[in-house]
């Protein structure tokens, strides 16, 4: 069982998909239930894995490997040459990402009760998306990673384009072309590595790229390594997103249905960070070190650019979109500092922002359902109409701006701690961003929650949150506070991964 548990984990949403096919397309309630239940097997397996880890056992027992593709016929020379295996494995970092994925998937599935049409197609694509996201974090070679990476692309395209708001198709194409471009660049790197090193296994590549004088199929000169690292930064920079590759993400945040944005902001964008850490930093540590200042600068630009633009937005969803850009800047700053605190902060930020963004968009979905607007101007006085929603909104805004006791604070604190060690001047500029974060979030939150109730909101028909809606909100907030109060839930599993990365870069 343990040998195939990861496969079962990744493909468990198939079970839900099969069950969905048996339900008739008009039975709304049943479809939604099956859809939500379909995310549960993955959630329980990932929780079991975490429990297994907490009990002090090694995660290595879950690694699995099977022969898959063999290009050419080199069995006499080296049986591993030009082979791509089906190999999955889990370590502390990927365990956290998997947990984030499964938790957010279940909660987003619950939040999807607002979906109005064609529930069957929606949940089928939703579960397919989950397969892709889980696979991405567990794949042990680049080709397999890429396949799962692209599997996320197709369902996301349809989910945005079919169930989104007015300009959904434009947003879907924007998503597809930007991400298609990103994956194309990624593919170029992957195939260069496969063609010249003869393998895409991550561990093998770490050795082959960073050891002098290892025989390769074709030489990989130093300039090519820099080229590949920059290509990786571009590929994952589209996903993260790094300024100026971010415009698609604004459209998606505004046009996609909120339950999909929960997954999009919560997990899909994080694949960018995961990729930079796993492959950029993992395979090219020396080159990454040389480019670290560039990465910090990009991070600071992201942080400030996102914060400034979030400040002037009139639409709450746009505020959140720019806030995501701004927060991803902190990830880059943490990574660029290349020390323990910085890396920890970066990964904390990845998880923490995943939860906070999901929470905020879950709330957006809830009040949009009732008042049909997300414009800050039109929303004033939410607290008198929907006090519970308004309360949660305030709490999540606080989490997002980094209030101590919540996960946002820990991650920003760690990232800046690392950055001040590595580059105090850039760190000082970066702190401006922290202040701006508080400013734009408070401006938006205050404008919506307090003040005179506006016409659109002041209606008898508007009811506050229902119990079903409260479940995801409550669970997300609980996680955010848990991490804020007891960060060891994240830092313990990460310790080995971070040590591994740092020893790779000789830091």
């Amino acid at each position: 069982m343990k040998e195939v548990l990861l496969t079962i984990l990744v493909f468990s949403p198939l079970l839900g998909m099969a069950a969905l096919l048996l339900v008739h397309g008009t039975q709304e309630r049943r479809i939604k239930w099956v859809g939500i239940l379909g995310t549960l097997p993955a959630l329980s397996i990932s929780l079991y894995l975490y429990g297994h880890y907490l009990a002090g056992h090694s995660l290595n027992v879950f690694s699995e490997k099977a022969g898959w593709i063999r290009f050419g016929d080199f069995q006499q020379i080296d049986p591993k040459l030009f082979t791509v295996d089906y190999e999955l494995s889990v370590d502390g970092f990927s365990l956290l990402m998997v947990l984030l994925t499964t938790v957010l998937s279940t909660l987003a599935a619950v939040a999807s009760i607002h979906i109005k049409k064609e529930w069957k197609g929606y949940y089928l694509l939703f579960l397919l998306l989950e397969i892709g996201m889980l696979g991405v974090f567990l794949a042990q070679n680049l080709v397999l990673f890429f396949i799962f990476f692209e599997i996320t692309l197709i369902p996301a395209f349809f989910l945005i384009g079919k169930w989104g708001y007015a300009q959904k198709e434009r947003a879907a194409f924007s998503f597809l072309i930007y991400n298609g471009f990103g994956s194309a660049v990624l593919l170029l790197v992957i195939i260069t590595l496969l063609a010249r090193a003869g393998t895409t296994n991550i561990e093998a590549l770490k050795y082959l790229i960073n050891t002098e004088g290892v025989p390769l199929v074709s030489p990989i000169p130093s300039s090519m390594k820099y080229g590949m690292l920059i290509a990786l930064l571009i590929a994952f920079g589209v996903k993260l997103p790094i300024f100026p590759l971010h415009t698609w993400m604004l459209r998606v945040h505004v046009q996609a249905p909120p339950s999909i944005v929960m997954l999009h902001a919560g997990v899909l964008l994080k694949i960018g960070a995961f990729g930079i850490i796993r492959f950029g930093l993992g395979i090219f540590p020396d080159q990454f070190k040389d480019l670290s200042v560039l990465i910090i600068v990009l991070g600071v630009i992201n942080l400030l650019y996102g914060a400034f633009l979030a400040f002037i937005q009139q639409d709450f969803k746009m505020v959140l979109a720019y806030s995501s850009i701004s927060h991803m800047g902190i990830v880059l700053m943490g990574l660029g500092s290349l020390n323990e605190a910085g890396l920890q902060g970066a990964i904390f930020q990845v998880v923490s922002h995943g939860l906070i963004a999901a929470l905020l968009f879950c709330l957006v979905g809830i009040f949009y359902e009732r008042v049909k607007t997300t414009s800050i101007k039109d929303l004033g006085g939410l607290s008198s109409v929907m006090p519970i929603t308004a309360g949660f909104l305030l709490a999540s805004a606080m989490a997002s701006l980094g209030l101590p006791g919540m996960s946002g604070f820990i991650s920003e604190f760690m990232a800046f701690l690392g950055l001040f060690k590595a580059d105090p001047i850039l760190a000082a500029i970066g702190t401006l961003g922290i202040i701006l974060t508080a400013v734009y979030l408070l401006r938006a939150a205050m404008g919506m929650i307090f003040g005179k109730p506006k016409l659109q909101v002041n209606s008898e028909a508007v009811r506050d949150m229902e119990t079903a809606e409260m479940v995801p909100v409550f669970i997300l907030l609980a996680f955010i506070i848990l991490i804020g109060v007891y960060p060891a839930v994240l830092s313990n599993p990460l310790a080995d991964t971070i040590q591994n990365i740092l020893s790779g870069s000789g830091g």
């Binding site: 022969g67 194409f173 195939i191 063609a195």
Partner: protein, 504 residues
């Protein structure tokens, strides 16, 4: 040559060709003598039986080793078997597509003609795969071309179809003339038409540089002539008009069988001859020195095909440009002469047979009742026939090179081949990537029609038997090659080694 020598040849090596020839002759006789009222459509099963029989007899020849008969003009080596396999497979699918073809006008009366002309075209392509001599090569090429010209004009009352045939004849004629002109230089330089002897003589002459220019002339003439055949830019202008005008089964035949035959010829002629001629720089053969030109051709083809496809509203024109772009990808595989060249080209063509014919089957289903062929005919197909919409999407995803499908593995192999050589063809690989991203626009545009738009017409779409069979086979092929590509690679390496007997 007396009777004994004639009988001493291993005629068994030509068994698949004989079967196709026999089937074609019998079909033409049947068509002639059957009463006018007899429905010619059932002749499809006869043609299909012929192709399947040929496929089986080809299967028995796999383990026979290299056979060369008729003074080395007909060669049965691993290369020819591997590619004939693709030709026959594609033909079987095209026959099934043709069986379900029910246009409004002007095809029914000539249906019998269609099947035997189709088989003679196939025979020509198979001869090209096996030819060891310029004469057989050229006869094969002409047999294929002349059959295709007639096929393109098969809907005799349709003006578009006539236009297509006319354009195809003129363009094809020019292309053949250019190829033949190039071949005449080859003959002039070597004094023989046999390809392997030619290679021997030419590799000896190489030291004298004055010949290099003549080789160059021959090389470019042949390359340009064949570029017409595979519709590589800038010699692709005929393709959209011809595809649009010809009956859909013929368009699918042109885009798959005829194109495959073009690549077979290209590999046969260019690789055998020009790879053996040393160039004027040390250690590099003539072909390696000049592969940049094939690379340019590939790059232009990829970009031109994909960009032009963006602007098409007519689905057949769009697919014409799409298959131009696909030809560009395959040319990129030929540009870099690495270990994986044969694997890449063979696998991509196999994948292409499945994904493109599957797509054409659905296109025919949706457009043969209308004259417009506009992509809006696909609007809301998901509601009218989920099976057709989903399988068409998978073919489109495969053509776009999305993982999980055959097209992805095909592109991966080609990529690997282009980047493996030293120096790697990074520019070409980047162009391929750019082309792939551009192609998302129009492939996903069709999917937007199928899934997002309201229905174009009422009523469910029912898949007729032939189309249904093609869609299912193509779907299985696309997914199996995409998810378990080893099935094809193992088959290739187990049976054909690394095509070691190709150059001998």
């Amino acid at each position: 040559m007396d009777l004994d020598t004639l009988l001493s040849y291993k005629w068994g090596a030509m068994a698949p060709e004989f079967i196709i020839l026999g089937a074609s002759v019998l079909l033409s006789l049947l068509d002639l003598f059957l009463p006018k009222t007899y429905k010619r459509n059932s002749l499809a099963w006869f043609a299909l039986a012929g192709v399947i029989l040929a496929l089986i007899s080809l299967g028995t020849l796999i383990s026979g080793g290299t056979v060369s008969i008729l003074n080395n003009t007909f060669r049965l080596d691993s290369f020819s078997i591997a590619f004939k396999f693709i030709l026959l497979l594609g033909s079987a699918l095209v026959i099934l597509i043709a069986h379900s073809y029910q246009p409004k006008e002007g095809f029914r009366a000539f249906r019998g003609e269609f099947y035997y002309l189709f088989l003679t075209g196939l025979l020509g392509a198979m001869f090209m795969a096996s030819s060891g001599d310029l004469i057989t090569l050229f006869v094969g090429l002409e047999l294929l071309s002349v059959s295709s010209y007639i096929l393109a004009g098969m809907r005799k009352t349709s003006q578009e179809s006539n236009e297509a045939a006319m354009k195809y004849v003129i363009n094809g004629g020019i292309a053949t003339a250019i190829t033949l002109f190039g071949m005449s230089y080859l003959y002039g330089l070597s004094g023989t038409t046999n390809i392997s002897e030619m290679a021997k003589i030419m590799s000896g002459q190489a030291a004298e540089h004055q010949y290099l220019y003549l080789y160059g002339l021959a090389f470019f003439m042949v390359l340009i002539g064949l570029s017409f055949k595979i519709a590589a830019a800038p010699f692709h202008m005929w393709a959209p008009d011809v595809y649009q005008g010809s009956p859909t089964p013929v368009a699918s035949y042109l885009s798959v069988i005829s194109k495959t035959a073009g690549f077979i010829l290209l590999l046969r002629l260019i690789l055998t001859l020009f790879l053996t001629i040393p160039g004027d720089k040390a250690d590099l053969s003539f072909l390696e020195q000049n592969s940049t030109y094939i690379g340019c051709l590939a790059g232009i083809t990829i970009i031109a095909g994909n960009v032009a496809a963006l602007r098409q509203r007519n689905i057949k024109r769009m697919f014409a440009y799409s298959s131009i772009a696909q030809a560009g990808y395959i040319l990129a595989g030929i540009t870099a002469l690495g270990y994986f060249t044969f694997d890449a080209v063979w696998f991509y063509l196999l994948a292409y047979v499945f994904m493109n014919l599957g797509a054409f089957a659905v296109i025919q289903l949706m457009t043969d009742q209308s004259n417009s062929g506009d992509i809006s005919e696909f609007a809301g197909l998901y509601r009218r026939s989920p099976v057709a919409a989903l399988s068409f999407s998978i073919f489109l995803l495969s053509l776009a090179g999305i993982p999980g499908t055959a097209g992805f593995i095909g592109k991966l192999t080609i990529f690997m081949n282009t980047l493996m050589t030293e120096p790697g063809h990074f520019l070409l690989a980047s162009l391929m990537i750019a082309g792939t991203v551009i192609s998302y626009f129009y492939y996903f545009g069709i999917m937007v029609q199928m899934f997002f738009r309201p229905q174009a017409a009422e009523g469910r779409v029912v898949l007729p038997a032939g189309i249904g069979a093609v869609v299912m086979i193509a779907l299985a092929g696309t997914l199996i090659l995409g998810l378990a590509p080893n099935s094809a690679f193992t088959f290739l390496h187990h049976n054909f080694g690394s095509f070691n007997d190709f150059l001998k």
